[in-house]
């Protein structure tokens, strides 16, 4: 639970897709240490046989009629895109980037 290393923090940053500077990693290592100490008491609770609550309401399987409703136009969907090409979003290369 404790003893964060900069290597662990860099790993978490990778999982979170957060580009961090070395200075940010160093500062976050200290902050995560302090914050995780507050959270640690939850790991110690005796709640093994308790069902988890993962939903703020008790609604189950809420559906609507399967009918076509108006949706965004292609222009609206693309209006905030950083880059688009012939009606498509332009995305960074995600395969064969040479970084394994």
């Amino acid at each position: 639970m404790s003893g964060f290393t900069t290597k662990q923090v860099a790993h978490l940053a990778n999982l979170a897709n957060l580009p961090l500077t070395d200075q940010e990693i160093s500062s976050l290592t200290k902050d995560l240490e302090a914050m995780s100490e507050i959270m640690a008491q939850i790991a110690e609770l005796d709640v093994e046989n308790i069902e988890p609550t993962n939903n703020g309401s008790n609604n189950l399987n809420v559906t609507r009629d399967d009918v076509v409703e108006p949706s965004l136009t292609q222009q609206q969907a693309l209006q905030n895109a950083t880059q688009s090409y012939q009606g498509y979003f332009v995305v960074p290369q995600v395969v064969d980037r040479g970084d394994n």
Partner: protein, 468 residues
Amino acid sequence: MFRQQSIIELQESLKRGELSSVQLVTHSLETIAKYDDQLKSFVTLRDRETLLAEAKQADETRSPDSSPLHGIPYALKDAYLTEGVTTTSASKVLEDFMPPYSATVYQRLNKAGAILIGKNNQDAWGHGGSTENTDFGAARNPWDLNKIPGGSSGGSAACLAADMVAFTIGEDTGGSIRNPSSHCNTCGLKVSYGLVPRWGTIAYASSLDTVGPMANSIEDVATVLSVIAGRDSKDATTIKPESTDYYDNIAVPEPLTIGLPLEFTQDLNPEVKAVIEAAVKEFTKLGHSVKEVSIPYLRHGIPMYYLLALSETSSNLSRYDGIRYGGDRSTFTAETKRRIMLGTYALSAGYADKLYKNAQKARTVLIQQYNQALKECEVILSPVVPRSAPTRGSFVDDPTENLLADLFTVIANVVGVPSLALPAGFDKDDMPVGMQLMGSVMSEQKLINLGYQYQQQTNWHRQNPPLS
């Protein structure tokens, strides 16, 4: 203007022709021009000519049957999508984001004829309790410019206290409506989870997020809630209340038993304690009885809430990839990066069971204990915040202190119940101190009735900040 008259009274004057929406909007714009350079309660203001044209149209189309909100100026926290008006969540990541559609709450207010003046400053993504975690200049408290207005809906409470609009819509995930209401001497309702639709709301933590009204009196809270509450087919978590006529159904409550949680009264700041004791006396005078109750898991509220909220936010904020909308992830603030990182840690392999899953299980126990306490009382009374508004910068310098400020408020979100925050007094520095009334799921009317009754006997909510 708005601080001294209820929305219903304003609308009656409008219908009698003694007042116009053009006058109201002009008052809003002039007050904002006078004070908002200091307060920074708005991130975006709509164009003056457009607003005056809307006000003129509201005056021309008003009829005896018009909604109480017809032609009434208001503001939205910048967490709600507003087609044609930028929505930033107070973050550089969404600096230029123009929503292609509107949140349900905005659609409902538009339909009622309310006039959106602008979008309020907040802690970015709801991450904070001070409205300092914003990329558009930290907001300040109208009661003392060296202090924080609270957060994350700090701009919404500050602009209300400064009489800039008649009401605002905040968002509450762990106290974000109630905390700034307490610090700015305004009222705010965190609704039962699902009572007001979240469609078009920028998500912080989806199992905890709620949309709610902020206003100058409980009467106004009820007026606004009557318009925005109710089922929405676009939000599957919404619930259908028996009635949404919260204002029309205001009535003197039958004598109630009010519970004071032991876990919250121990080690309480003496000045906050004095305010709560005075409120207890007032409720007793009104015929209610007050007793101590115990909810042992309240002491785990902060870590439980933060493990859940930050896990959910790390997931929700993963959508900001800078491709479909928004900018680069490197532009998240330091506070938001901390929260994403802690959430990612709590969900990561080897830790998820002991952290995230245990927090979900502890949530079940807390709900059971809360419901058990409600067998001994009907309403729970507690402070909103551990002390009156801290000095600016103190939360930025100490991230853990920022988390602990939510001690009393997170419970209502974790349990999913309503909590009504209202002014209850002042400390020795003349800074406002609020209280909160919590109930069972869907007990909004009961809380409104009790709060309304209290405000008939007290005038804390009519005290105004010393702005100049």
